[in-house]
Amino acid sequence: MKKLRVLSLLLALLTITPILSGCHGARKTSAFVIPEVFDYETPVEISFWAKNDTNINQTRIYEKAIEDFCALYPNIKVNLKLYTDYTRIYNDVITNIPTETTPNVCITYPDHIATYITGDNTVVALDTLFSDEKYGLGGSELKFDGVQKDEIIPKFLGECKIGTTHYALPYMRSTEACYVNKTYVEKLGYTLPETLTWDFIFKVAEAATEKDENGNFKVNGQKVMIPIIYKSTDNMMIQMLKQKNAGYSDARGNILLFNELTRDILKTVAIHAKTGAFSTFKISSYPANFLNAGQCIFAIDSTAGATWMGTNAPLSDISEDKLADFETEVMSIPQYDPENPVMISQGPSVCIFNKRDPQQVLASWLFAQYLLTNDVQVSYSSTEGYIPVTSKAQESDEYKDYLSREGEDNNHYYSIKLKAAKLLIENTDNTFVTPVFNGSAALRNAAGQLVESVTKSVRRKENVDEEYLDKLFADTISLYRLDSLSRNSNEKLEFGKLPAGAKVLIGALLLAWAGILAYLLAEKVRKKKK
């Protein structure tokens, strides 16, 4: 009898266990567990999806990093795939998650990782790896001079954290800068302030739209002049809101973008788009091309685009006969409160995708760490207006020497590029990032789309008024499915009716427990009677 009871209990446990755990186990990939030792013998192949800024020097640095790394770890082969667009990487990763064909190591943005990690253990959580004695940051078994955790600039490392977990390492950092045709500003009778303000650039821009009797712009004598061109309008909106202390989103995933201050910003955009003082990359083309042709005064773009800016820029998409001769000033983006400047922190981070073979994941981690070594950090950051993400690299003699040689030539030491890098070094404490959550990438796109839509509409002679903005907000929320993301934290969540299957399951569970209790009760009564 006792045996039968034990058997019944076991049967009950066996039956209930899948009920309790069932819904969380489907198709789950096991979380990565660090192997005791790295296998230096068995060949392992990893893929590295990277982004470059159509810059041959960056390609070379990636290739050299791979070569140097593989010389240290001869059994590891790294296959490089290059992109020039983060969005393409993101879309390719998303496509490859269901088929488990994601890359091993990938250049990415935390906003994108927030989507990737909605899959089971898709991206490797790095905190345990960070602190692993042998293979962690600065670990004892590394075959290179790895970086210690406290040598990664804390602010940049913090940007790779989603919730309480690090899912990436920072790789490079940049911000946005305003590349100014100082010659034209002064020709228009203005003097550049120490810190640009939105009021100032709009004022100068409006002055620059004045034409002569032949229809040429007075300031440049050409038929084309777009005084302000913004490359990334998502950043524009995000930074303007931040500067105004206005809502955008919060860490809980609440969407705060559609507010009164956003309306005010869009009305300002409309005013200056209408006069032709303002346009965007998506509408007109690269700010650098217009700036270098003397057809733009304030070109706002990433510091990682600095090598394209200015009369003597080493990289250019326009023919030499179109180049204008002018003095370029590199300044922080315009501010509402110049006493308290704020600007975006951006730039690539690197994440590792989980795989069935832990040795492959460990190889990926070793390579990701290798990207933070001084050689890679200093050489890659100097290809553009990036800065290294480690204090170890920033404080190295090599990097200090590089910064000290501003303007020595128009290539490696191109003054605009070095000024852009210094701008970020001086303003690291003034940078910010937006909260990361599943959907934050869509919200970012929506923020930019608001600026793009208003600018286009005004150019098409549509009236941008409150009614227009109401519709624009509603359409944008719907288009980017923000209504399904946004919820007010004070509101009670409404889940709707339970599906029929769930009702049956709950009913069956209750019935089973009732049966068990009834059985136990009956047994107890029977015992008492005996």
């Binding site: 049967l11 009950a12 039956t15 209930i16 899948p18 009920i19 069932g22 819904c23 489907a26 198709r27 470059n52 159509t54 810059n55 041959i56 960056q58 390609t59 070379r60 490089l80 795939k81 290059l82 879309n91 998303i94 998650i97 269901p98 989507t115 990737y116 909605t118 899959g119 898709t122 509408i283 083309s285 091309n289 990289l315 998409d317 326009i318 179109k322 599943n438 959907g439 990438a441 796109n445 793009e452 286009k456 150019r459 098409r460 002679k461 549509e462 519709k471 944008t476 288009l479 299957g501 769930a502 049956v504 399951l505 069956a508 569970l509 019935l511 089973a512 049966g515 068990i516 059985y519």
Partner: protein, 264 residues
């Protein structure tokens, strides 16, 4: 009693398995933020109703940012990306580049060369390329495939832009050296500065009448499995070649080449 209990447990187990099965399907895909970025707040359709179908001359005369309606024929498709199609089209009197026109993959597949479409959109200019954006379209009866127009003699002329976006031919041009990253003379580059890889756009220089031009094999239009991609990779400096392609513009003429052969 025990039999009933066992039956209940079996039923519960069955229900749990069914529930798990459903979960698997629901959680297998990662949610994508990718959305169809059709431009919001446009009133293309409303405004286009008021605009009659334009001739190419009327289109050419229309201001940038104005609504346009044209009837044209698909000649080639560059890409379908996030539910938007970028296509090269041409009618009997001129050509139109349609940029990121919303359509499903099924609709995109149906847009075979020769298909006649009416396009409502806005005229735009991006880095010198005149195009139709924020467009909608409908398929019409009819078909047209033009002969490639020889514009070799117009290359250095201001007249060339009048043939923008058309299917054109270049005859008897000479492959000139491009400089790779190490300063070596090469016949072509992956990407404009050689920073790319196989599969990326190919850039190569060709000359005629003492002027050198940069032509491109656009990898979205002709990827690395196409004959033209292989033909350009096989070029040598000094080769005399004939080419066909679409007269695209990027900060100056930048044809998207679709065929290369030895000069006749």
């Amino acid at each position: 009693m025990k039999k009933l209990f066992a039956l209940m447990l079996a039923l519960v187990m069955l229900a749990s398995l069914v529930a798990c099965g459903a979960t698997e399907g629901e959680t297998s895909d990662v949610e994508s933020d990718t959305v169809n970025e059709e431009v919001v707040s446009d009133t293309v359709a409303d405004e286009a109703d008021e605009v009659k179908v334009m001739t190419y001359a009327e289109y050419e005369a229309a201001e940038i940012d104005s609504p346009v309606v044209v009837e044209t024929y698909v000649q080639a498709k560059q890409s379908w990306w996030e539910d938007k199609a970028t296509i090269y089209t041409q009618s009997e009197d001129g050509a139109y580049f349609i940029y990121e026109m919303p359509c499903s993959k099924e609709e995109y597949d149906a847009l075979v060369p020769g298909t006649k479409i009416r396009v409502n959109g806005y005229k735009a200019e991006w880095a010198g390329e005149v195009e139709i954006v924020d467009a909608t379209y409908e398929v019409l009866e009819g078909s047209f495939i033009p002969e490639a127009k020889d514009v070799t003699a117009l290359l250095a002329s201001d007249e060339l832009i009048k043939s923008q976006n058309q299917l054109v031919a270049f005859k008897g041009m000479t492959v000139e050296a491009s400089k790779d990253a190490d300063g070596n003379d090469v016949a072509f580059l992956y990407k404009w500065d050689g920073s790319g890889q196989d599969g990326d756009d190919l850039y190569f220089n060709v000359s005629v009448d003492g002027n050198t031009y940069t032509f491109t094999v656009e990898s979205y239009l002709c990827d690395n499995t196409t004959d033209v991609y292989a033909a350009v990779k096989a070029l040598n400096i000094g080769d005399k070649i004939d080419m066909e392609g679409f007269l695209y513009w990027y900060e100056g003429v930048n044809p998207h080449i679709t065929a290369v052969s030895a000069a006749e």
